[in-house]
Symmetry: C2
Subunit: 348 residues, 2 copies
């Protein structure tokens, strides 16, 4: 998508190096940085220079390629690196999924050079698949927007950033927005700022500003009130991990918006590629929830936002029970929570 | 209550001058400022140097005294000032209530000097009544805490600041906490930071820190997750205006916490003096909701928190429907939403 009128993806491979947009610096500064080895990959994921479940997956995929190249025939070193990549963030299942996918494919060969080549090929394919999945999510989601539109007008509420910066391109929750706008739909998006890291107010707002899509930042507290006022036609968020029963882990606060949507009869959709579904777990109870530094709550850079001598607790995600989710917008179509199980053997 | 071990009230009258703690500077700086006339009163309320429905009421009460003294026998000037005081914040009913109470009492006399004296007497009485009401709210709320306690331990979640800084002393939602701690109860309080002005993370956390009451700041997004985890026994918030049917306007985001409490079978209480009930209005639909500057969302001082080129919308309050409220903790006892009407002719 566009920044200052020029097209970008959030990540790309160029002459043996991964390039990313440093998302910790947006929106104040647009800086492209280079990841040259698996340590850079781990650092970028852990410090959220890249974030968003699908993009974490794609970044980690290239991490496998770096790890193989660096380790040579020292496979113990390779598997140590692989473990550390997997542990760089705990909640998004796409990370584990991507690493396993690339490893399995690469290690089908017994020749190191061939393994390295295969890992890069598969990472590239994974990259392209992510773009294609998001494009399809946009097309499928567009039909949902048509259903809820009033005279071609739709007010969408979203939480966090599930935009193109959270994927390679197009985004998940944002893909139907881009598709709808391209097709002439009159769309306005309410963006939860999404404390404590404000990925909504910093990243999603920045994306829509540069795509010239009408939007308004609100506090996380305000979504319920705006729904009570009848100003929201649909809520769409992304997901970090979806259990087999449809319970969905996403950025902390998503659950509260699902409750408000339910109370105000506003449809609540999750937009995600089916690689985000973790068929190994039955319900949301089994999803690990990351706890991040309390300083993310207490400070913005060096500016204190709260009483700095008090303790704070910083859960990164919560789980929205399936009963509050109207449906899942995926690259394979729209599914209710009950229908997710049918996707178990679907090729991604 | 205490700051650095020394007792304070949030406001006091001293030698013809009102003194307040400037709440826009807390917790970084503890600064006492002087309000010497009705303009100072209006400025302090409008700019939230004083805030919290009960404290706004008490401050405005002294504003009537200043307005009378300044206007002399120019009653048109007096009533202009009174209107401007009433309009300094729109949502808290205590403001209008207090101004009318002091005006009515003062103007029962026809003599200007007597009117001035009566306005000061009545403001002083209103000040004392606020303290007494909060003390009683603490005693009444303590019995609710005993009901929800597990082996003398209670985890409370609160939103915004309904502490002593929001009243003259003791607070509303905080009064049962102070009472419980005094009586040896083992209390921990989860404090929503309460964006955009962070009155929870700045003021409530500061209060509990200086009273040595265990507490933890969380983002507004996290309360639902913490309730799902079983870590909240009761939610207690204050109120800015309560309609006759029990619908309650309070700081934006309160509604979301009420929904989460309802979904997790956590009792949800409003603590407020009965002067916060507006018997003139039937339901929450009639409560005016203040919209404040978008800069409160986009910046903290000069630090940008969100994409500053994007628009933001800043509703200050929302309305929690009565059906989600377990009860009201008042100075006259505990009431369900349905029982509120019985208080209509109660002397405050």
């Amino acid at each position: 998508m566009k920044y200052n009128g020029k097209k970008y993806t959030s990540i790309w491979f160029e002459k043996g190096i991964i390039k990313i947009i440093d998302q910790t610096r947006l929106p104040e500064e647009f800086r492209i940085i280079e990841l040259r080895n698996s340590e850079d990959i781990i650092y970028a994921i852990n410090n959220m220079q890249v974030r968003g479940a699908p993009l974490i997956g794609v970044t980690a995929a290239y991490g496998v390629y770096f790890a193989l190249k660096e380790s040579g025939d020292n496979y113990q070193s390779f598997f140590n690196k692989i473990s550390r990549i997997k542990e760089s963030r705990p909640t998004a299942v796409n990370l584990e999924y991507a690493v396993d996918l690339i490893c399995d494919y690469a290690l089908e060969s017994n020749d190191l050079d061939d393994q390295i080549e295969r890992s890069l090929d598969k990472a590239d394919e994974f990259y392209r698949n992510d773009m294609n999945a998001c494009k399809k999510i946009g097309e499928n989601g567009y039909f949902i927007l048509q259903k809820v539109a009033k005279a071609n007008e739709v007010n969408i509420l979203t939480h966090c950033n599930a935009g193109w910066l959270a994927t390679v391109d197009f985004g998940t929750a944002s893909a139907p927005v881009f598709e709808g706008v391209n097709r002439g739909m009159d769309i306005h998006v309410w963006i939860d700022e999404t404390r404590p890291r404000n990925q909504g107010g910093k990243l999603t707002a920045w994306e829509y500003y540069h795509e010239k899509i009408p939007h308004t930042i609100i506090t996380d507290n305000a979504g319920g009130h705006i729904m009570q006022n009848g100003d929201v036609d649909i809520v769409i968020t992304g997901a970090d991990r979806i259990a087999s029963n449809g319970d969905t882990a996403n950025k902390i606060g998503t659950y509260l918006k699902a409750l408000a949507a339910y109370d105000n009869k506003v449809p609540f959709y999750i937009a995600a590629p089916i690689s985000t579904i973790d068929f190994k777990i039955k319900s949301g109870k089994d999803i690990p929830i990351e706890i991040r530094s309390e300083d993310e709550i207490k400070f913005s850079g060096k500016t204190p936002l709260n009483h700095s001598l008090s303790p704070a607790l910083n859960h990164g995600f919560d789980v929205t029970p399936a009963k509050f989710i109207t449906g899942f917008i995926t690259e394979k179509g729209i599914f209710t929570p009950n229908q997710l199980k049918s996707l178990k053997n679907e090729k991604i």
